[in-house]
């Protein structure tokens, strides 16, 4: 699960990391008032950042500076409501604009190949790390935390020295360890600070100090671990979530809406992707990825059918079930129920093999469903049906 920058910063702060203050606003007026108080505290400028769960906010114009409360309000008016990669901006983060001396990159990520937590750092912060990795791999420092002992101080020091942060050793070590602590505390699979920055601050007595802080934060959480972190469920951004996604989650269904016309209902993620691939290969376009999960009962099947049909683009449906834990007859019953209730009549091709396939075939025959024996055949017929319907 992705969470917003502001929420990610909240988690980092709770784990003791240095994150300069911020507030979240949903209207230009709220932004104005937040900016007023930040500027009154001595900041020269404020930064206003769109809170969306997609990358490239800066390039899209979703991050702006303002020198006065009025300017902040005007900037916020432009950002709030804008669309970034198809997502409408509904809230912004407001913070004092930092006086940045130098930017770094630091992240902790679950490294699947090494089966360990990987710390990745670079003295080239503020840009996309994928680009740095592709162009100058030597500029990236990596260290694996020990799978039992975690990240040692010595490893954090090594990382800091190699990143050129020897002058801020204690802070860098604290932040590196804090990233791993944050991962473990919330079951995150990514905790990314970009930029990690040395900023210049003027303290109350007029002296200028430099400090290493987390200026941006990105955290993604392991969905499998959410049941043991009920408090994190509140961080799910319902503003950005397709209402169908929430329904699907509730029902135990994996559902992703796509742009095609052929609705797909499959059991198993790999088989669902394969089904999409074969639809495309047969000349069609899948309308969705949908995995009903293992052992689905008829009610879940009916719910999946409702989700598919809620997309008006769908003009044909392909059901592909290879029964293992899932019983073919349960699926057939769900399809029959769903058709009895459905509002519009869309041609459907059903292929059910594996556990209780014979019973399923009988039920489907009795209910006059169109069935197919192989996946290739099912895909071809669904594509043909979609073409006829779309013509």
């Amino acid at each position: 699960m992705k969470i917003q920058e502001a929420d990610a910063k909240g988690l980092l702060l709770a784990q003791g990391l240095p994150v300069p203050g911020w507030s979240v606003a949903r209207t230009p007026a709220e932004v104005r008032s937040a900016a007023e108080s930040i500027l009154a505290d001595g900041a020269g400028r404020v930064v206003i950042k769109a809170q969306v769960l997609v990358g490239g906010r800066g390039k899209a114009g979703g991050v702006k500076l303002a020198g006065s409360a009025a300017e902040a309000e005007a900037v916020a008016s432009a950002i709030l409501g804008m669309s970034i990669k198809g997502i409408t901006v509904r809230k912004v983060l407001v913070a004092a604009a930092a006086d940045i001396v130098k930017e770094y990159y630091l992240s902790a990520v679950l490294d699947r190949a090494a089966r360990r937590i990987l710390l990745m750092g670079s003295a080239e912060g503020g840009v996309e790390i994928e680009q740095v990795a592709a162009e100058r791999p030597d500029a990236i420092v990596t260290i694996h935390a020990h799978p039992h002992l975690g990240l040692g101080d010595w490893q954090a020091r090594q990382l800091a020295f190699r990143m050129g942060l020897g002058g801020h050793l204690r802070a860098a070590v604290g932040i590196a360890r804090g990233l791993v602590r944050t991962m473990l505390a919330y079951d995150a699979d990514l905790v990314e600070i970009n930029p990690l920055a040395i900023i210049r601050e003027t303290s109350a007595d007029g002296t200028v100090v430099e400090r290493l802080v987390c200026l941006d934060a990105k955290v993604t959480l392991d969905d499998s671990a959410l049941p043991r972190h009920p408090e994190l469920e509140a961080l799910r951004d319902l503003d950005e979530e397709d209402p169908a996604d929430a329904e699907a989650r509730e029902a135990g269904i994996s559902f992703i809406r796509l742009n095609g016309t052929i609705g797909c209902m499959v059991n198993g993620a790999g088989l669902a992707m394969t089904t999409m691939d074969l639809v495309k290969r047969a000349g069609g376009e899948p309308a969705n990825f949908l995995d009903i999960g293992g052992g689905a009962k008829s009610d879940r099947v009916a719910e999946a059918m409702r989700m598919i049909l809620s997309d008006p683009k769908v003009n044909a449906i392909l059901v592909n079930i290879f029964g293992g834990i899932t019983r073919g007859d349960e699926v057939a019953r769900g399809l029959i129920d769903a058709r009895a209730q459905q509002l519009r009549d869309v041609p459907m091709v059903v292929r059910i093999v594996g556990t209780n396939a014979t019973e399923a075939a009988e039920l489907l025959r009795a209910a006059r469903f169109e069935t197919a024996a192989t996946l290739d055949e099912a895909a071809a017929r669904a594509v043909a049906a979609a073409r006829t319907a779309g013509a």
Partner: protein, 294 residues
């Protein structure tokens, strides 16, 4: 012969008295797998599967009393990492963890402990393995199999059944079919299984079934290019048409950056001599083209 499981398998089922554990244990037993013990804390002294299998409180007891050498875990996610460590601690050499939904960070210390003990873990969130005609550990439907000499390795569940069924329908049997699971952190990788097949004299062809995301298929392909040049090989990669940046079902299937795309995997596999199928149904034909006479 076969890999991971076979006639020498003496299985203990952890969580045998649970709904799933019991259901699949019956299926395994019916297939001919020697289930020598069940384990459920607090049910030691009872029996399972109509009195045919003794149940123990601990895996250590099961090993001591029955000589179990392989474990299959159906324990729910919160207790599954502990169940794996218990199997390791009791000296079990091969552990299949069927459980899905284990948080990834829970598995990091566990796979390390398994590695240190010199044991092997398959999964978690995997369908297990079947050596047709010999033994089945896990939940792969019996009906898809046929005895033969093709080693199959896959990280999907039902897609594996689909592919294996296609082979069986075409008269091509399997030596062992291994589902390694699609979770972020798994005990046994494609590469590990290819190495096992390479050492098995009765495996004479290979089928690899991958998915978009990660670099495990590429890693396995690189090894196969060097060590498995002379054996017929076919592969299928799911997710060629999946849009970038979306998680498709389980966490394994996410494309990030260039690595892990279907194109990268297909290219790596073809470079290693795999014939890559456009549909699972093409696998048997490609194996024959590659020289397999099964």
């Amino acid at each position: 012969m076969s890999v991971l499981i076979g006639r020498e398998t003496r299985l203990v089922v952890q969580g045998i008295t649970g709904r799933e554990g019991e259901f699949h244990s019956r299926a395994m037993q019916a297939y001919g797998t020697r289930i020598v013990a069940g384990m459920t804390p607090g049910k030691g002294g009872q029996t399972a599967l109509d009195g045919t299998v003794p149940v123990f409180d601990t895996v250590a007891d099961a090993v001591r009393e029955t000589g179990a050498n392989t474990s299959c875990i159906f324990v729910p996610a919160p207790g599954a990492p502990d169940a794996i460590l218990e199997a390791v601690g009791a000296g079990i050499g091969t552990i299949f963890c069927i459980t899905e939904g284990i948080p990834a960070l829970d598995m990091v210390p566990v796979v390390e402990a398994v590695r240190q003990a010199g044991a092997r873990l398959v999964g978690p969130n995997c369908p297990g393995a079947t050596s047709p005609g010999r033994a089945k550990v896990g939940i792969i439907p019996d009906s898809v199999h046929r005895e033969g000499d093709v080693g199959v390795v896959s990280r999907s569940g039902t897609l594996t059944y689909e592919a294996v069924q296609a082979m069986t329908d075409a008269g091509i049997g399997q030596s062992t079919c291994v589902g390694i699971g699609g979770d972020p952190i798994i005990g046994t990788t494609f590469l590990d299984v290819l190495q096992l097949f390479a050492a098995d004299p009765e495996t004479r062809a290979l089928v690899l079934i991958g998915e978009i995301g990660g670099a495990a298929e590429e890693e396995a392909a690189a090894w196969a290019a060097e060590h498995l040049a002379d054996i017929p090989k076919a592969a299928f990669i799911a997710g060629r048409t999946a849009p970038e940046g979306k998680r498709m079902g389980h966490a394994g299937a996410i494309i990030s950056g260039r690595a892990g795309t279907a194109a990268s995997k297909v290219a790596a596999l073809e470079a290693a001599g795999f014939r890559v199928a456009g549909s699972p149904t093409e696998l048997p034909g490609l194996l024959r083209v590659a020289g397999h006479r099964g």
